[in-house]
């Protein structure tokens, strides 16, 4: 595993890599923002047994430059294209969690020929009437100044889950870790904190373009992205077999709670 800062057109991007072999791009979300810094999670290490995992940090996070005033999905797509240019990658497997899953889907519908397989884990990005994506910003405001119970509940199956407790303790944690979380929220605010509220209304009608093998994975009790979003993704992405993989007893950060099961589901589409 190594972390480095790469230069792209007019900006820098922080990249974490592990494993060897064919490339797999991993786009992180909020709950696993730590994963793309200096400590890949068990889930990512499992993927690295089969692939060269490359995890670029989203704009503004862990040394990646912010996108400035640009706030559109289009800007995010160009950031990704420029990152791939700099890495010299043409085609690859693509995996994303939460908003990282959203961008993976946006990329796959634009450039389906470059994506060998697509795996979305608790992915936001779709507008599903009556099933709003949860308010991570409201929940990121602690109660009584230090209590992150409701944030843990939103991101994990239980506010007492050990991984949840580890990353979102009820005290002011390590400043670096807190700053990373803040950076992710700031990026989310630039891109997702208004209608479209972590969604792009147009995306659902574009999914038909992405015909590559796909896995849509969600935790049974995802408190951030309702399970019906996974069903909508699965219906739209023909390569998914039409059904999401729903992991029982897991929450939004399903890959942190059940790494083996999620890695296995992803592996099924890695050829």
């Amino acid at each position: 595993m190594s972390a480095r800062l790469i230069e792209i057109h007019n900006a820098h991007v922080a990249v974490v890599e592990a494993g060897a072999g064919a490339p797999l791009i991993y786009l992180h979300g909020f709950a696993d923002v730590h994963a793309c810094m200096d400590e890949l999670q068990p889930f990512h290490r499992l993927l690295a047994k089969r692939r060269h995992v490359i995890a670029p940090a989203l704009p503004g996070v862990n040394g990646s430059d912010e996108l400035g005033d640009s706030t559109t999905v289009d800007d995010m797509m160009f950031r990704l294209l420029q990152t791939l240019d700099a890495l010299g990658l043409q085609d690859f497997d693509l995996v994303g969690h939460c908003s990282g899953g959203w961008f993976a889907a946006e990329f796959a519908v634009r450039f389906p020929e470059r994506v060998k397989s697509l795996s979305l884990i608790g992915a936001s990005g779709l507008f599903v009437r009556g099933a709003l994506i949860g308010d991570v910003f409201m929940n990121a405001q602690p109660e009584r100044g230090v209590d992150y119970k409701s944030l843990r509940k939103m991101l994990f199956s239980s506010s007492d889950h050990p991984v949840a407790r580890r990353y979102y303790p009820d005290i002011r944690g390590d400043v670096d870790v807190e700053v990373r979380r803040y950076q992710m929220l700031r990026f989310g605010s630039f891109l997702g904190f208004r209608p479209p509220y972590f969604y792009n209304r147009s995306l659902i009608d574009r999914l038909y373009r992405a015909k590559m093998p796909a896995r849509i994975i969600t935790g049974e009790s995802d408190g951030m992205v309702p399970v019906v979003h996974a069903q909508a993704y699965a219906s739209g992405l023909s390569g998914s077999g039409g059904k999401p993989v729903i992991i029982k007893g897991a929450g939004h950060a399903v890959h942190l709670e059940a790494p083996e099961m999620v890695a296995e589901a992803v592996s099924e589409v890695l050829r």
Binding site: D69, R172, V179, Y182, Q183, F193, R194
Partner: protein, 414 residues
């Protein structure tokens, strides 16, 4: 130099919450259920509050201060410009300070330029134009993205100033508000434009913007101690960087004042409103109990490095104003001053000695305070505190800023 200017500030809070509100509800902001609004009891409420400000004008306050809040019990003025229009019509004297319109919440700042220009015409040049970016609750109320909101705010202020001063029509080539035709009618009465006040904390970037454009700085902190003095010094230093000299009237601070005939009467008459304000109105804003929405990781409008500095220099368990436990605690925070005219005078002079600012924005009505007592408190202040305070302020300014002292002040100081 002019003496300290004394303004009557009103929040227009909702006073009819159930007695057990604090036990039953976790916030007074954004998600506080509006089924608590009592339509019958609330008849005439906004008129009464507006009349209290008219009364302030009649008994000699230098101005009336309004502010914009949304979806909370703390302030019932989603559109302060509506109240300002009523005041423009009902008063003959005193500045009308709208502090301020929350620019990122408005679809287009040109509309604010137009409404403020209308108000300045209606009140014959008495408007003070305040602009604010809005803090945490606003991002939730109006789905305003926090991260770009500061940049958006300064562009909006720039657009409004240009709309008032640059001959139209002209094209404004902003990133957030590009407009092909900027050409407002009417223009404001005041030249080159109404004074512009900006509420801010201690962000160096914000102070620089305020200094650079000649605006006035209103410290948005409610508690006054050494931090207020530091803010004044920082602003003075920042003005220096732009070749300007600090003058007290470039800066203002907010405090709440409850005046009785005696200290005991002030406490007795004020206590219900004060504790209602602290416990209910500040819940969700400046209280650790419940969820505070004003500042924090969920409203990420400051750059990451500034957030790092904040984390490194603060303790999240520090009590906020709404956590005030008792009268002694309240006394220490210097946020809500309670007492006889003599007590109030002494305490404000003390604050002015350490932070010589020229504008005091004074909140008299707190929470569910009795309306009659609110007016009595205002009158005691206007008659028994204000005259002495004005005189004392001139002496303080003359001592601290001898280079600004006019002959008139020199005379008074003798």
């Amino acid at each position: 130099m002019n003496p300290v200017e004394l303004y009557c500030w009103h929040f227009m809070s909702y006073p009819y919450l159930p007695k057990d509100f604090d036990e039953k509800y976790d916030t007074g902001w954004v998600t506080v259920p509006n089924e608590l609004w009592d339509r019958e009891r609330s008849r005439g409420l906004l008129r009464e509050y507006t009349d209290q400000l008219v009364y302030a004008s009649e008994i000699g306050f230098d101005g009336m201060v309004l502010n914009e809040h949304h979806q909370n019990i703390y302030g019932l003025m989603p559109s302060p410009n509506i109240i300002a229009a009523a005041l423009a019509h009902a008063t003959k004297r005193g500045k009308i300070v709208v502090l301020g319109n929350l620019l990122p919440l408005h679809m287009n700042p040109l509309r604010v330029a137009e409404e403020y220009a209308m108000l300045d015409n209606l009140c014959d040049g008495r408007l003070v134009a305040g602009f604010a970016p809005g803090s945490g609750p606003e991002t939730f109320n109006y789905d305003v993205p926090s991260a770009p909101s500061r940049d958006q705010f300064w562009e909006a202020v720039d657009l409004i100033r240009e709309a008032w001063t640059r001959p139209g029509p002209f094209a404004y080539e902003g990133a957030h508000y590009p407009l092909r035709y900027v050409n407002p009618w009417p223009l404001p009465t005041q030249r080159p434009h109404p004074p512009i006040w900006i509420p801010a904390g201690r962000s160096k970037g914000t102070l620089r913007e305020i200094a650079k454009h000649g605006y006035s700085y209103f410290l948005s902190s409610r508690s006054h101690g050494s931090a207020t003095a530091k803010s004044q010094q920082l602003f003075e230093k920042t003005l220096g960087e732009y070749g300007q000299q600090y003058a007290p009237h470039r800066m203002g601070i907010l405090m709440s004042v409850v005046v009785g005939e005696t200290d005991a009467e002030a406490r007795e008459q004020g206590k219900e409103g004060i504790w209602y304000f602290l416990r209910n109105c500040l819940k969700g804003h400046q209280r650790r109990e419940g969820r505070q929405l004003t500042y924090g990781p969920g409203v990420p409008y400051i750059p990451s490095e500034e957030w790092r500095d904040f984390l490194s220099s603060t303790d999240p368990t520090t009590p906020l104003l709404g956590d005030t436990e008792d009268w002694d605690d309240l006394q220490t925070s210097q946020s809500i001053l309670v007492g006889s005219p003599d007590t109030i005078y002494e305490r404000i002079v003390g604050i002015l000695e350490s932070a010589p600012v020229g504008n005091l924005l004074l909140q008299f009505h707190l929470g569910n305070m009795n309306f009659e007592f609110t007016r009595k408190s205002m009158k005691l202040f206007a008659e028994q505190v204000a005259p002495r305070l004005r005189e004392a302020s001139l002496k303080i300014y003359a001592r601290r800023f001898p280079h600004l002292t006019s002959a008139g002040v020199a005379e008074l100081v003798k």
